[in-house]
């Protein structure tokens, strides 16, 4: 028998050719044996073996590999000292061809990149200079409801400054050193003038701290407390006293704070001068004495933080109510106090003459007014020029007769200011 065997060229691997196939076959029974293509293992610089299998008609690697082998051997177990690179490159430079990583063909799975520190999710690092936010589509979508939408959002928006105690929310006109205004409302007719720190309501260029074109209101609170109010709460800034007969002090003072006091009672309300309650809450009437607020009358109290007292503004003191007096012979008319007082007087059991030394008790403040009104033509009361009484001449008060005295604190004398007989 003649046997012919063709011996392929082995010295020129780069040009090996065969009609059917070129085979590298491991023979033997050793299970762990492998067929290897490798570079010089001893040369650290040339350990990479490039296998380039291609045909004339179809470029690229054409091999049949089981999916499991591909995953286990090539992908899941891929390791490298520095990096594992997947690069699509082709000489034809097709710009529309992609390098893809897909979890499943149906697209239902996720592609996760993780390491030992970040156990799940995608963790990547992209050069910031390569990111152009403007290239993202859907920029006009309202996807971030945690941010204010300047064009407005359905059902409205809420802007909250901080999350901790005492934190603030600031609105500023401009970041420039020269400030402008913060306009309120679409019309812009109300404004906060950041330059002058003024607020305009209906006024876009406020001239004072608060400049309003529509007036302002201080809401009223009715106080039904009976008797004298002491350390009365001043939260509302406007109280209507419906049952009180006096007020001695106002609580919660503050620098320049305003407090309207309105007499909603049917009797005068006494405003105590600098007495009662907490010292810093007391009221200085400005008359040197107590004053009375007539029914329906009101007065403004403003807090003087320098002297830590409330001070009354624009008060025309009401008359001090007093019970009618009958004066015995040589008796003394009792002046109860107050800047103005109307006393109804008559002789006790007939015509009487007041005391020649102290016809009426001394006044409490210089200029104090007392009107004496006679109530009887039978029980008249005569006042002579004597003692601390200095009328222009003696006067006998019958029914309807009036004489007005002013207290001369310098000479401790009641002096006549007016009479009507």
């Amino acid at each position: 028998m003649i046997r012919i065997r063709k011996i392929k060229r082995l010295t020129g691997l780069f040009s090996v050719s065969d009609t059917d196939s070129i085979d590298l076959t491991k023979t033997g029974t050793l299970v762990s044996g492998v067929v290897r293509l490798s570079s010089d293992a001893a040369d650290a610089g040339y350990k990479v073996v490039a296998i380039d299998i291609r045909t004339g008609a179809s470029k690229g690697l054409r091999a049949q590999v089981s999916v499991e082998d591909l995953q286990d051997a090539a992908w899941l177990a891929g390791t490298d000292t520095n990096s594992i690179d997947f690069t699509y490159t082709d000489g034809s430079d097709q710009a529309t061809w992609d390098l893809r990583l897909s979890a499943t063909a149906a697209g239902a799975g996720f592609i996760k990149i993780s390491n030992s520190i970040i156990s799940s999710g995608l963790y990547g690092e992209i050069a910031q200079s390569s990111i152009d936010h403007g290239s993202v589509s859907g920029l006009t979508d309202d996807d971030h409801t945690q941010y204010l939408l300047l064009a407005g959002r359905a059902t409205g928006q809420v802007a909250i400054g901080g999350t901790g105690a005492g934190e603030t929310l600031k609105l500023q006109s401009t970041g420039h050193g020269t400030k402008g205004k913060v306009l309120l409302g679409a019309a812009g007719t109300s404004a906060y003038d950041e330059v002058n720190d003024r607020l305009g309501i209906g006024v876009s260029a406020p001239l004072v701290g608060v400049d309003t074109a529509y007036g302002f209101s201080i809401r009223q609170t009715a106080v039904a407390t009976v008797g004298t109010l002491s350390d009365q709460a001043s939260v509302s800034g406007h109280i209507l006293m419906t049952a009180a007969t006096g007020i001695g002090s106002i609580a919660d003072p503050a620098n320049g704070k305003h407090m309207w006091l309105v007499n909603g009672n049917t009797v005068p309300i006494k405003i105590t001068n600098n007495a009662g309650g907490t010292a810093a809450n007391r009221i200085i009437t400005g008359m040197g004495t107590d004053v009375w607020l007539a029914p329906g009358q009101s007065v403004l109290a403003m807090y003087d933080t320098t002297n830590t007292r409330w001070r009354l503004c624009g008060l025309l003191p009401g008359l001090l109510p007093a019970a009618a007096q009958t004066v015995a012979s040589a008796g003394t008319i009792v002046c109860a106090g107050g800047i103005r007082q109307l006393l109804r007087v008559a002789g006790n059991g007939g015509a009487q003459t007041a005391n020649a030394t102290t016809g009426m008790t001394a006044g409490t403040v210089d200029g104090q007014e007392v009107d004496l009104l006679g109530t009887s033509d039978t029980d008249t009361l005569t006042i002579t020029v004597a003692g601390n009484m200095a009328p222009n001449g003696s006067i006998t008060l019958g029914n309807g007769d009036i004489i007005r005295f002013l207290w001369d604190a310098t000479n401790s004398v009641w002096r006549e200011a007016y009479r009507s007989e």
Binding site: I2, I4, R5, R9, G12
Partner: protein
């Protein structure tokens, strides 16, 4: 056994046939540069058919002038060990 070797430095194929008319289309076999052809005459003590091969029946030609060819033959004998 006959061993015909075409050096890898050859520029073309070496054609091997059984007649002097060795051409590309009718050759028995061809060797590219670097390839070799081994022709063995096998005989065994069992059949002992006295197979023989005559080198004069072997014709060779080169496609490129100047190419070389090495032909070696070995006389193989068999002896039964006793």
């Amino acid at each position: 056994m006959v061993l015909i070797e075409a050096p890898s430095t050859n520029g073309g194929a070496i054609y091997i046939g059984t007649s002097s008319a060795v051409i590309l289309a009718s050759n028995y076999h061809s060797l590219d540069p670097g390839e070799a052809l081994e022709i063995c005459v096998e005989d065994s003590l069992t059949d002992d058919d006295k197979a023989r091969f005559d080198l004069t029946d072997l014709w060779m030609d080169g496609a490129t002038t100047g190419d070389k060819l090495t032909v070696s033959y070995f006389l193989q004998t068999a002896r039964q060990l006793t």
